[in-house]
Amino acid sequence: MNAASKQQSIEDALLKSKKFRLFGLNADDIIKHFFAGNATIAIVVLALITVFLFREGIEFFPKHYESLRLYRWAGMEFVDYLKHESTDLSALNRMTNLMKRQESEVLRMKGLSQAQIAERLAPLDAFAAKFSEVPDGLNGLVADLTEIPVGILDRHKMCVNAQSHKTLLIRMGKIAEANAVKVDVIDFGKETAILKTFLPQCTEIHAKIKQDIVGLMSAIPDFESAEARATSLLFKKLALKFTDGIPVTEKKMAEWNPGEPIHFYRALTDFIFGSRWVTQSFWYDFYGVVPLFVGSFMISLLAMILAVPFGVGAAIYVNQMASKCEQNMIKPYIEFISAIPSVVLGFFGIAILGESVRWLTQQSCLSWVPFFPISERLNIFTAGCLLALMAVPTIFSLAEDAINNVPKAYKEASLALGANKLQTVVRIIVPTALSGIVAAVLLGFGRVIGETMVVLLVAGNRISIPDFTAGIGVFFQPAHTMTGLIAQEMGEVVRGSLQYRALFMVGILLFFISLFINYMAQKIVTKYRISAG
């Protein structure tokens, strides 16, 4: 063996290790790229979520726009002016009944017999009877007019179907057959012209309604009960508002023009600010997210009002005041509470909580509370209570972490200066941990607003904006939420329909709300973090 080859073998041994190589990569590189690939998959997946939500949701806008245009073209908008009046009048009618109930309640309390009550209520009865006749003419007209846009829309639908049939035939190459398919074009302007011919009749009816209402206003009898008097005042106010509104409506109807263009942004604004969510109706489907948003928001608000004091209070107690033994017991226990699946809590709400809350409000010792007894078993309150129980563990553990992170020196310094434990907690520890506590509350809010099963089971599922005139009683009304609505309607919806897209839009809205809350929480934590220096 000569020197050169010896040199070579030494070089081989030292420099060229006989390690496994693939595409010039050694095992370590391959492992690294494998992990990187996994990370990429995970990240791509997370990006896909956004993509797919938008992919299904974005088509909501053109479809919604189309539906809004048809709403105007077919004259539904015109008829809805009158329909609104009709609903307003029936609301007024319901108020006369309410007055009757309130008055008779007071009279019964006074110990009057049934006959005496009836005698006292006779003028009110007469008034109510007369008032209930007021909207008759209007209701008749509305019933007549409703037929017209529905008919126009039906014919429009037929035309669209014929058109799509024709295009299909052409695509299949059956030109002759395609030419045989007759496609009408609906001239909406001409079709809806007939609506305008009802205007004089409308004015007549309006004049009569106004005359009736003004005439009846003086006929409202006097009341014994303060409640009924308050209702009658409100009634008068609303009735006057109604009569004042008549010229405005008339002007709107006279100026109504089916050809007037609708801006494209209405597809978005009507979704975000629309106050009605009505689907699968024979008339027109409204997709306004406000009632759902208000429902979600009110339930979460109530849950937070209940959960924040308890969550933060428990965190302070466990971290600062409790003995070691208590700590060791309470912390895992609260973790168990957070592990209760939401559907089980919802079931508990249906089976136990709703019924017991209603039973409680029916007790005579609580009858002084203005809105007791409550009529609905499942309402915002029951949902809020259960969600509070879900939010408490989240708030507790995060707030406890935040309090735990307060440097020990702060506490010791405060105690050394003679402050007692409570003063230290209130003046030193809580202010120092405040950013963490606020973040905990925000994340708890995020968890609550995104919760589905509890609200679906317990919130009562009535899609309407709660009646805020009821004061605190508003929390005892049923509501519907964004999450609950998606869960409820998604199963029955036709794929690709406007409603389907609308549900995805609600999902996108939820997505953004939760992102915003999370982002805020992180910002607060990082911005106001107190260093231990």
């Binding site: 095992a27 494998f34 308890f310 508990f348």
Partner: protein, 346 residues
């Protein structure tokens, strides 16, 4: 009177009053939780357990859901409850008298919840496999290999934000992507991926946290001794990070098992009278079977069918089994954490 005794002052009185208030608040929360646990376990226990051997209501745990028939037994003259199959057999045994037999029926109130248990177990197994493989590997990459830069920072932000996205949004996503776009329909596979993606952010964040908790010196020492990067990770980082990963992953199992919203339109059937592995033409079809699941079953029996004493039994029984499973998982994770925390201290 002792002049040196502590004088009562306002601050101390306030302190003791507030301590009591805080303590009561804490115990009120615990009480609320206890009420829920007690109600479910007490009423559910009456369905699951019975006085005579084998002490467990095996029918409920091993049978399919059936319609309950309640009728006046013409033979004994007493009120009688029977499941669908038993009722038909009984009707036949009565011969012509049986044709006139009228019964009140209650759906899903007889039989058991076996397919729901099977479905939940399958969903959890599949989705956790996917989530753990993807999540742990991604965490290893993010914590050990990636260079710190704005992009990785941004990725972290995205992941932690996604952890807070409502589960129903994941359900919508799964529906849009797997059920419709991939055309997997309502199936195990759709459910697995939807649930896996739902817990993925949680698994990644938690795993990364426990990887970072391993002191830097462990890695440096190993690298200084000539080990490669992978050897370092494999021998000196993963073993110490494993407990943290394990507890977090067990907690996410509890979350996966407990969620209803994501599987509502991706994997769960209201009722299915076959187990997912029965009646398959070829084995691959197994992945495209829809299943019944415990949480969805609770939702169905507690809101979609009329409430009465007969349906209440199946409701409480299902809730008991479900809560028991979830709590057992959570308890396992908490005990494991306590044990492992004591073992690894640095």
């Amino acid at each position: 009177m002792n002049p040196f005794a502590k004088q009562p002052n306002k601050a101390d009185t306030a302190q003791s009053v507030w301590f009591i208030i805080f303590r009561m608040m804490t115990y009120f929360v615990l009480l609320c939780g206890a009420v829920v646990f007690f109600d479910i376990f007490y009423k559910g226990g009456k369905v699951i357990f019975k006085a005579e051997p084998p002490f467990v209501n095996t029918t409920f745990l091993t049978e399919f859901p059936e319609t309950l028939h309640v009728f006046d037994n013409p033979v004994t003259g007493r009120k009688c409850e029977m499941g669908e199959k038993e009722f038909q057999r009984f009707k036949l045994s009565l011969k012509e008298k049986g044709d006139a037999l009228q019964s009140a029926t209650y759906v899903y109130s007889a039989g058991g919840i076996f397919p729901c248990i099977v479905g939940t177990v399958l969903l959890v197994l599949g989705s956790m496999t996917i989530a753990l493989v993807l999540g742990v590997m991604a965490a290893i990459y993010l914590s050990e290999y990636s260079k710190h830069g704005p992009f990785i920072q941004w990725v972290r932000l995205a992941i932690s934000n996604l952890a807070g996205v409502p589960s129903i949004v994941f359900g919508l996503f799964g529906f849009g992507m797997f059920v419709i776009f991939m055309n997997w329909n309502v199936s195990l596979l759709s459910g697995w991926f939807t649930l896996a993606f739902m817990v993925l952010p949680i698994v990644i964040t938690a795993s990364e946290e426990s990887l970072r908790a391993v002191p830097k010196g462990f890695r440096e020492g190993s690298l200084a001794l000539g080990a490669t990067k992978w050897q370092t990770i494999y021998k000196n980082v993963l073993p110490y990070a494993l407990p943290g990963m394990l507890t977090s992953s067990i907690l996410s199992i509890a979350r996966v098992a407990g969620e209803t919203a994501p599987i509502m339109f991706t994997a769960a059937y209201v009722v299915r009278d076959e187990l997912p592995w029965e009646g398959l033409k070829n084995t691959g079809d197994f992945f495209f079977q829809g299943v019944q699941a415990l949480p969805y079953h609770i939702y169905v029996v507690s809101s979609k069918i009329p409430q009465n004493e007969y349906t209440q039994r199946v409701q409480y029984g299902t809730a008991f089994v479900f809560l028991f499973i979830v709590i057992a998982i959570a308890m396992a994770s908490i005990f494991l954490r306590a044990k492992l925390r004591a073992k690894y201290r640095w």
